[in-house]
Amino acid sequence: MVVQEIQKNYVFPRIPLKFQLPENYPEVGCISSISVVPEIRDFRLNRGEMEIRGSYQVTVSYFEALNQSEPDKIREIEYDDFFSHLRLRADGLITDSGEELPAGTGRSSQELNTVQFERPFHTFVDLEFINRPRNFKPGLIIERVNLEAGEGCSLKGELVLSLVNRPRRTHR
């Protein structure tokens, strides 16, 4: 089973995104993941164009910005301590100092904050971009998303959607 290559009928112009974080949310440090779910509420075929109304839901999860100016100090091991010497040997590891690398992203101790935004859209597409208007069931896919931390508690970026035909629908 291979996912079929989706044929894009029309690529919309880019949508600038501007989100204001709700209150009590910390400042954005680095963005871990973005998820976008576009949804078409309804569509209408006019004479020369197709009217599409829907919304897109953007979910952003991010790590809190670090406010500490100094980097973490490397913990020094007392080498003169007899017991630390024993511990080293019990680990079965003999390494130089600084052997402790933080597991994972190093930010694993930090909490992942998740915010969700929803925006409606309402557009018109010229029918000349669509090859079979009769059988056309529009679906939206994401062409490109960029988001980064703006000033203060805000996020800004851009979103590019494109229109595809979904003739077959999976019934659940």
Binding site: C30, V36, T170
Partner: protein
Amino acid sequence: MEVSQGPDYRYYKANLYPPVQPPGGVLEPFGTVEIEITGPKGRMNCRTHQCLGLFAETHPRIKYQVMLQKEMDGEPVVIGHLSVDRSGCGVLKWDFSTAGSDSGEGIPVTYKLLIAARHDAGLRGKAGGGVLMSGVISLKSAVRDNRVVGFKKEVKVREKGRDIKERNPFFEKVEPFQPPIPNSVWWRIGVLPDSYWQTGFCPRQKSNKAMY
């Protein structure tokens, strides 16, 4: 005219960050992962940035594994290896399915995506491997590998052919340190010669003092 029955298309994008923050520097992503899920099918596109120079000619024998790990139970699964793009980026495409795993609505499944260097057989003795970058992503449903698994042939398992270290009492299995790297087994030698314990002197220590 027509009202859709809820979205069946989802798009996810996660940034991959290096495991250690550079002191005083700004953390910048080393790569991105894009996941598109249409109905039960999904595709993951993994891409590292060009500036890393992972596929430089200086170390052509290193393989870069892409691993997926459920955050709660931490056994990472190797998805595949990065291959070189025309522009020098590491690229991986992976098809998966989410069929039959969409159990509860609204309970996201958090995955951790790791890219680790794995040396080829010739280099394995010198250095192990390390996690280059990792990212966290929470999907709506669990992910299952799509690759077709062939029928299992019945194979005689020879008892004697097992790894010697598994039964040898002189070797003691040691749990791997964090971050866990698959297929790596850490061993330590349990029994040492007497002379090893009696010297109160460790040459690897910083302050070389004899202790009596």
